[in-house]
Symmetry: C2
DNA sequence: CGACCGATTGACGACCATCAAAGGTAGTGG
DNA sequence: CCACTACCTTTGATGGTCGTCAATCGGTCG
């Protein structure tokens, strides 16, 4: 089977179902949510620190990241987002954006007005819990990244990051058996894991030499999931996936 | 003026008001929320990974932290929590706890049943937004820690952590002019910032030598806030405090 | 074909980790 | 009042993981 494709609203349903059980009525409500499409290129800023948007967006295709810079100009990538994710859901309740969001591949985005989201949640109150839960899961991912970047050596760290991506892609049906899209450059992986680009390159070489990953262009494949999982000390509890999605 | 003391429900109101404007009716609702007190000693686990609690708690006195361990037994402290904070609010929507929560000083805690919280939010729907916002602010803090621990040198990193604590304590009226409680040991600061205990000690000596902090036992004082802020590259935007609380 | 971007390699060094031990301080109990 | 203990802080010595700097290589695209 090839990688699943969805309409925007179907993708949102699939995403929410990966962490929250939806009723048929709620799905129907979600199908009626207005979503406005927009395509962007690689390395475009989508939302910037200080913005006060009246909408948020879902990724339909491609990857984005959120990042912050230090005064010295160093960049930390705080999260990678894949199709189905809502990188700026927080803007629903935090007026001022405190991060930057950029594409790391060509993307198709679906913009959703805050007011439409609020209306939907009023009509289907359990959806409030679903969206809240989505933000809580991402908070949990931030915590895991803190552990990963703070306490694990570079090799383990990158293995863990790859494990997480695979799991999250599988949850929305976007990872084939062992292969998935990995458009992030080595510089981006470096900024995500808090190591330098040069060292990232050497770690990736080691991971390839050990048979844990292989890649061609933007396609990465994981020959032996168990081995990678072990190398990355990966336990998916923190993703809080529904059992059906985790399988 | 001495450090503010509150009843449990007053403290919750004060805390929520630091990030969200409350109406008089909502405050009245909050005053009627049942909160059950409990005292614990230093270094007690309060909630553990895998738990499925039916309640959450607010800190009334003392400090707690949340942490995770790697397979090799290294500990990362993911957040420090001070009076007014709700370290396991996430349990309202994520059934399984994915972190450990422990006291780092003697604490008085106030336990709140999930069902009481849900009832309250049903009666005052804006409070849902307030509590959601509280969890989003903490997600924002996790992001800032990722930046801090990932990209800043040890000296800046610890200065930043101290700045954050001061701001958060002031927001709930728990930092006097320049002095506040700092019960965390150097080992705990080390695990929070991802550097070793030995190196933390040396950095603290440097901060003291530079006149940025001084401390006796559990009291820490900041002689020159502007200097510390600069040394820590501290910008409080990410705390999303109301203007009144930030002042 | 030249320009650009990302991946790769080499040499060197520093920040911070690791290991080990000693000094302070508080609390406990005889 | 003083041992005794436990915990935290401090110090010294050494070294490794990873950062920095710089250059080259390879592929893509206009």
């Amino acid at each position: 089977m090839s990688i699943a494709t969805h309409t925007p609203n179907q993708l949102m349903i699939r995403k929410l179902e990966s962490i929250f059980p939806l009723t048929e009525e709620e799905k129907q409500g979600l199908r009626e949510l207005p979503i406005k499409l927009s395509d962007i290129k690689t390395n475009q800023d989508i939302v910037k620190m200080g913005d006060q948007p009246s909408q948020c967006f879902m990724i339909l295709e491609g990857y984005t990241c959120i990042y912050k810079m230090t005064a010295e100009g160093k960049r930390q990538i705080l999260a990678l987002y894949v199709p189905g994710d809502l990188p700026d859901m927080q803007s629903l309740h935090l007026k001022v954006i405190d991060i930057n969001i950029a594409s790391i591949s060509p993307c198709r985005l679906g913009f959703i007005q805050h007011k439409d989201l609020r209306n939907l949640c009023e009509r289907y109150p359990r959806l409030t819990a679903a969206f809240w839960r989505e933000t809580l899961v991402h908070a949990s991912i931030f915590r895991e990244w803190l552990l990963n970047n703070g306490q694990r050596p570079a090799y383990t760290r990158i293995a863990h990051l790859i494990c997480e991506l695979v799991m999250r892609l599988k949850a929305v049906g976007l990872a084939e058996d062992k292969t998935f899209e990995m458009p992030a450059t080595q510089a981006e992986l470096a900024d995500a894991t808090g190591i330098t680009q040069v060292h990232t390159n050497r770690v990736l070489q080691a991971l390839r030499a050990d048979g844990l990953i292989s890649n061609e262009k933007v396609k990465m494949t994981v020959p032996d999931w168990q081995k990678l999982k072990k190398a990355g000390e990966f336990d998916p509890l923190y993703l809080h996936l529904q059992k059906t999605a985790a399988a």
